[in-house]
């Protein structure tokens, strides 16, 4: 009996000593952050991930953004606070399903400090609740749906910011361009049920009507639809002068190819938005691409030219889509915020408090980025939007800028 008591007692003593020794090691810093801290031991990498569409029909969009981030990492020597940067991520497929899968996978990894993504607004709608609950800070280079940064909107989550413009801007620019510059009065719109397309065509339609134009039809297609004849016939019945379809590939390519082969639409103008700014659209549209218009951000300046030269050198081509500079800026903003809030200990251990990091990114002001002078609003809109209109010509990429504000 006394022997058993002795064994139990000695186990207690051993356990107490073990606990005491543990407490001793972490006692130099106690995390007081509301949503926790990431501790990076000396020599360990700082983990930043992408959640971009890097496979499938819209892969140019995501690969282009990823290239932008890789240039940013290379420009800053691949380190943050003398820790190497571990950069990897998941494909999001430009769909809610893809966003869900990538979000679930990434949210389970507690080493992740920040996420750069997503590309498509529908992905953000399903991945953001997961990222937000996991305590990440997320900066999107190309989500443009107004909902995501609208205060009080159920799709606005803490920890979400974007360097891309808000579609309230893009939709208005497109409507003004069509009404004032092209002088057209009758427009039809098509969306694909995605958050991005549905909201953007809504903003366009509202502004177009405010300017005095008429919307003859607001139709929708399925993102995987190939045969557009019924929707185009239905639109032709209203006799529009322009069809505005801010959707994605491949449905966008099928619309471009089939619109001219519909009775009544032989001379109609076609216009898309930034989701259809990529080299894939050139291929998907074939010869019918001639004259296809898109609204998209325009990035310019000496720094941007140097960036393009570096892009050419690292990836062997000119930028393949439009949101590379936005991704570059997203990385730079995150890096600056980490450097501002991280606690560096004498042995080189870096502690990043998550809520403080979010606050620091939200507090970004007058940040000199490639895409302009970035200042974030309390709901996460950081862009300095400058939207231009581009025109595609067969066999020529990138498309020509035909109008600037």
């Amino acid at each position: 009996m006394s022997k058993r008591l002795f064994v139990v007692l000695s186990l207690f003593v051993a356990a107490a000593m073990l606990l005491a020794s543990c407490g001793g090691a972490t006692s130099t810093y106690t995390c007081t952050d509301a949503i926790g801290c990431v501790t990076i031991a000396p020599g360990d990498p700082i983990h930043i991930v992408y959640a971009l569409v890097v496979a499938g029909p819209n892969e140019s969009l995501g690969i282009d953004s990823r290239n932008g981030i890789e240039i940013a990492i290379s420009d800053t020597g691949g380190t943050i606070l003398d820790h190497p940067v571990q950069f990897d991520g998941e494909d999001t497929g430009c769909s809610a399903e893809g966003g869900q899968a990538a979000g679930t996978k990434l949210a389970a990894d507690p080493t992740i400090v920040a996420v750069i993504g997503t590309n498509c607004s529908s992905e953000a709608r399903v991945a953001m609740p997961l990222f937000s609950a996991a305590g990440f800070v997320v900066v999107s280079p190309s989500n443009t749906a107004p909902d995501l940064t609208e205060a009080g909107n159920p799709n606005n989550y803490p920890g979400y910011l974007r360097t891309a413009h808000n579609d309230k801007v893009q939709g208005a620019v497109a409507a003004e361009f069509v009404y004032n510059e092209l002088g057209l009065r009758k427009a039809a719109t098509i969306h694909d049920g995605s958050l991005y397309a549905e909201k953007l065509q809504e903003v366009f339609a509202t502004h177009f009507v405010e300017l005095g134009g008429t919307i003859t039809a607001q139709e929708a297609v399925d993102p995987a639809q190939t045969d557009m004849s019924s929707v185009l016939t239905s639109i032709a019945a209203g006799g529009p002068e322009i069809i505005y379809f801010p959707i994605f590939m491949p449905a966008g390519g099928f619309l471009i190819r089939q619109a001219r082969n519909t009775p009544g639409l032989e001379a109609v103008k076609l216009m898309g938005a930034d989701g259809l700014f990529s080299s894939d659209v050139m291929e998907g549209g074939g010869a019918e691409i001639e004259g296809f218009l898109v609204s998209s951000p325009l990035t310019q300046g000496a720094e941007y030219d140097a960036f393009v030269a570096k892009y050419q050198e690292m990836f062997g081509s000119a930028p393949i889509s439009i949101f590379h500079a936005h991704a570059y800026d997203a990385y730079m903003m995150i890096k600056a915020a980490i450097e501002k809030v991280a606690i560096v200990q004498s042995d080189g251990t870096v502690i990043i408090p998550r809520q403080a990091l979010r606050d620091a990114v939200y507090a970004t002001a007058n940040f000199d980025g490639l895409t302009g002078n970035l200042t974030c609003t309390p709901t996460g809109d950081c862009a300095d939007p400058y939207i231009a209109v581009y025109e595609y010509h067969a066999g020529q990429y990138p498309p020509e800028v035909i109008w600037k504000p």
Binding site: A55, G56, P57, E59, G193, E219, A220, V221, D222, A224, Q225, T226, D227, M228, S229, S230, V231, T233, S234, A236, A237, M249, P250, G253, F254, R257, N261, T262, P263, G264, D280, E283, G284, G285, G286, A287, E288
Partner: protein
């Protein structure tokens, strides 16, 4: 023993009839109100009909593979949609090479034939390989086993081709000779659609001739009737089954190129929806029946093309074109309620083999 009609008609029969009747009434009502509204011109209707027939022609060629294999093995070859996909996703490289060299627009006919031939060979090879590797070892297994294998083979092929050519899409070049339209009176007949319809009809007739009048076709029908008896008559059933798969594969490969003429973007996932539609068309026409597959495909193509504008528009349903797939399947339900074996199907199909 004779039973009164009260005993013969069950509750579920009545429910089915009510559902069928409701679908019929809604369709007729929608059609009448669309036509009364006069929203669409005669030219638009003509265009939709032509496009529907072209789509139907493509479905017919794919449906051949389902119906022939069903006729002979009593199994649904769900990997057939991938047999269809394998041709066009491979032939795109030849098409782009021909376009780059300028040959495509100098000799459009020769080029299209070469592309179709390559597509046909690839699809045929894939069909034969699937039969040899996935189905033959299971020839005498219970009927559910090859069905599950077919679904597995379908996924395997999809991701194999994704591995080969990547997850992005490949666009086919534009063929100048097929661009534009002929003007007949007030209507436009687009050249692409006209060529696809003609090619599909000629090919379907050719397939029908092979099945009905060639020696191999006769052997095929004999094996389909009774495999043991055919074997006793000196027909090598294994060889005939391989021939059936090859014929279905070749039809799917050419159908793939016709599909590409209509929708010139190829990717590894492109087979799924057309495959499902062609299967539906085969069931609609009466599975196991060649003219039935043709008729079912044309009906399905027309419903899909005309349906959203003809019935749904009149009912005031927004974004009708998004519902065209749903519509196609609702009509399938409607037809199967009244003719469970399909339009030209035989009611005794189950008792064979």
């Amino acid at each position: 023993m004779f039973r009164t009609w009260r005993q013969r008609v069950t509750f579920s029969d009545i429910m089915v009839w009510i559902i069928g009747l409701a679908i019929g009434v809604v369709v007729v009502w929608g059609t009448i109100s669309t036509i009364q509204s006069g929203k669409y011109s005669a030219e638009s209707w003509f265009d939709l009909i032509v496009k529907g027939l072209a789509l139907g022609g493509v479905y017919a060629l794919i449906a051949m593979g389902y119906t022939l294999v069903y006729g002979i093995l009593r199994m649904i070859n769900f990997a057939h949609s991938e047999v269809f996909m394998s041709g066009p996703v491979t032939a795109v490289f030849l098409a782009n090479a021909l376009a780059a060299s300028g040959f495509l627009n100098k000799q459009p006919l020769l080029s299209i034939l070469a592309i179709a031939l390559l597509s046909m060979l690839v699809s045929m090879t894939v069909a034969i390989l699937v039969e040899r590797i996935a189905y033959r070892p299971l020839r005498n297994a219970p009927r559910l086993v090859p069905l599950i294998t077919a679904i597995g083979a379908s996924f395997f092929l999809q991701y194999t081709f994704r591995g080969f050519y990547g997850s992005g899409f490949q666009a086919y070049p534009t063929i100048d000779a097929l661009a534009g339209s002929w003007k007949i009176g007030t209507v436009q007949l687009y050249k692409t659609q006209a060529v696809v319809i003609m090619a599909a009809i000629v090919l379907m007739f050719l397939l029908y001739a092979i099945v009905m009048w060639s020696k191999l076709g006769k052997a095929m029908r004999a094996v389909s009737e009774d495999r043991e008896a055919a074997a006793l008559m000196g027909i090598d059933a294994d060889k005939i089954i391989v021939f059936t798969f090859a014929l279905g594969g070749a039809a799917a490969g050419i159908g793939g190129i016709l599909y590409i003429l209509l929708f010139p973007i190829a990717h590894f996932y492109m087979g799924f929806i057309p495959g499902l539609k062609a299967f539906t068309a085969a069931v609609l026409g009466g599975i196991g029946n060649v003219p039935g597959a043709f008729l079912g495909s044309m009906v399905l193509g027309l419903i899909e093309s005309l349906g959203p504008n003809l019935f749904l528009d009149g009912l005031g349903i927004p974004n009708a074109s998004q519902l065209k797939d749903a519509l196609a399947f609702i009509i399938l339900v409607f037809i199967l309620i009244f003719r469970p074996s399909g339009i030209l199907g035989e009611r005794t199909a189950q008792t064979k083999a």
